[in-house]
Amino acid sequence: MLDVPEWAGHRAGQHLDVRLTAEDGYRAERSYSIASPPGEPVAITVERLDDGEVSPYLTEELRAGDALELRGPIGGYFVWGPDDGGPLLLVAGGSGIVPLMAMLRLRLATGSDVPARLLYSSRTLADVIYRPELDGLGADVVHTLTREQPAGWTGYARRVDAAMLAEVAWPAGQDPRVFVCGPTPFVETVAGSLVDLGYPPQRVKTERFGATGGR
């Protein structure tokens, strides 16, 4: 949770840049999606990368009360608000859930009646971010666990593919709004499959991240 003086307010799906400057002047900058909905204090979710330059500091060194250099809010494309309508199809790979969570939290907070469906790919059940909160969002949440499944798992157990999307996605004729966020290969697969299912490319908004310099 960040207390940002003069924060202009943000939209669901936007991100911010965190800049760290070392004593010798070396700078590292990374983008992090904003997890909290508009109207609430700015919160980001940081996945620690062992060989990262910024995430180890944010997850292990940073203490409450420390100051950070931020830039944002950023982005006017990968954003959703209740007035944009739906139905909403959100497809997340790993920590790609974060900006989509801001959209689902906004939808819940505003009492929007836009139907929403989330397809969320994680490696294992322990890797599912926001797990306790997901069931209470009033959205259809469909999980796939790609690496390891607990005993008795009844959800999907493979990477997201065209056949899975054909089962989970709203029919293209319902004019869904789609947001896909995850690592680049994941996003390419999902977006390509949805277009094959008849989704207009301009309705499929994507955000790719990578481990080096991405978010």
């Binding site: 950023i74 982005g75 494309y77 990968f78 680049t184 290969p185 908004k205 955000e207």
Partner: protein, 83 residues
């Protein structure tokens, strides 16, 4: 080469250089004419410098290099950038 990111990743850079949000702006490739929002362009962050390419024909559309707090921006590959 690492996977390309997309134009969302340079939203902050564009904000710093141009002073306005540009990820939703529509870019037109000067080589093949493909039109896309900046957010959907292919971005390589460590090229060195930042290189933006057309996902359709791979032409270089924009490059950004920062040296001692001065930005060098080359946008010759873009035919049009519509806000």
């Amino acid at each position: 080469m690492t996977d390309a990111l997309d134009g969302n990743a340079i939203g902050g850079l564009l904000l710093e250089v141009f002073g306005t949000e540009l990820t939703a702006a529509q870019g037109t490739c000067g080589s093949c004419g493909a039109q896309r929002p900046v957010a959907e362009l292919a971005v390589y962050l460590r090229a060195p410098g930042t290189v933006v390419r057309c996902p359709s024909c791979d032409s270089v559309l924009m490059t950004f290099v920062e040296v001692r707090a001065i930005w060098s921006v080359d946008m010759r590959g873009l035919a049009e950038l519509e806000l």
